[in-house]
Amino acid sequence: MNCPLYIRSVPTQGELKFHYTVHTSLDVVEEKISGVGKALADQRELYLGLLYPTEDYKVYGYVTNSKVKFVIVVDSSNTSLRDNEIRSMFRKLHNSFTDVMCNPFYNPGDPIQSKAFDSIVSTMMVQAC
């Protein structure tokens, strides 16, 4: 079941192309998390770093220990976003996601429709662009 629980892009037109990029990046994520031996898997870092470069984009990945995957796609021309800023974005996403899960009205697996989550993502995207 690999449909995204949440997808947002700025600007909003051309969102479909991001669906495709994100979907193909899932294969790279799977590769990265299954490619380590059992001992290393226990210490695996959540942040996966740059998944793969394309002509237009840089794609970053992050996977929780519960196998929830976060993907951030950034325009290649954006050279000002540093690695530690991407890490911090993933941490914020992870924390917001945890809050969504704690909403008793949210059913795991449903698309995320939380206003709080939307607002964290909006703020992050404004800061990054």
Binding site: C102, N103, P104, F105, K115
Partner: protein, 177 residues
């Protein structure tokens, strides 16, 4: 006697919040009607309140309140602090002194909660109304308790309105609802 250190309060509160959330959503599934869920939560709260008052009186050793203003202060500064770790402010007294508001800046029951659109009539924290009503009944006070504002429903604060109805005669037995 139990001691509620601030550390144990933090470790307990997520489980408490999630447990209450599970209770409310289960009631929503069982009754499929917000008004009915509100009623059930209030009833449960009442059953908690008639028992909780004993624990409260034993642990807080507050004496008998002389008037409703004292009751309000004890509820806000002692009871809410003891059980929910928050201290609402007491305001909006009616001219007759028989009605006041508790304003909660934060409410641990609703941490992380977002009401979906199809539950616009749900008063999520209705349990609290019942608790207050049941507890006060055991000290011979009949009160009416309702939510006047609710942050979950878009208001800026959560406001509980409490109204003194009458003194209850001591020989009337109070039972479960």
């Amino acid at each position: 006697t139990k001691r509620y250190s601030s550390e144990s309060r933090e470790n307990n509160s997520e489980l408490f919040t999630l447990t209450y959330g599970a209770l409310v959503t289960q009631l929503c599934k069982d009754y499929e009607n917000d008004e009915e869920v509100n009623k059930q939560l209030d009833k449960m709260g009442y059953n908690i309140g008639v028992r909780l008052i004993e624990d409260f009186l034993a642990r807080s050793s507050v004496g008998r309140c002389h008037d409703f203003r004292e009751t309000a202060d004890v509820i806000a500064k002692v009871a809410f602090k003891m059980y929910l770790g928050v201290t609402p402010s007491v305001t909006n007294w009616s001219p007759a002194g028989d009605e006041f508001s508790l304003i909660l800046e934060s409410n641990p029951l609703v941490d992380f909660v977002e009401l979906p659109d199809n539950h616009s009539n749900l008063v999520y924290s209705s349990l609290l109304c019942g608790v207050l009503r049941g507890a006060l009944e055991m000290v011979q006070m009949a009160v009416d308790v309702r939510f006047a504002q609710d942050t979950l429903r878009g208001d800026s604060v959560t406001e509980i309105r409490m109204k003194f109805i009458k003194r209850i005669e001591e020989n009337l037995p109070a039972g479960d609802e």
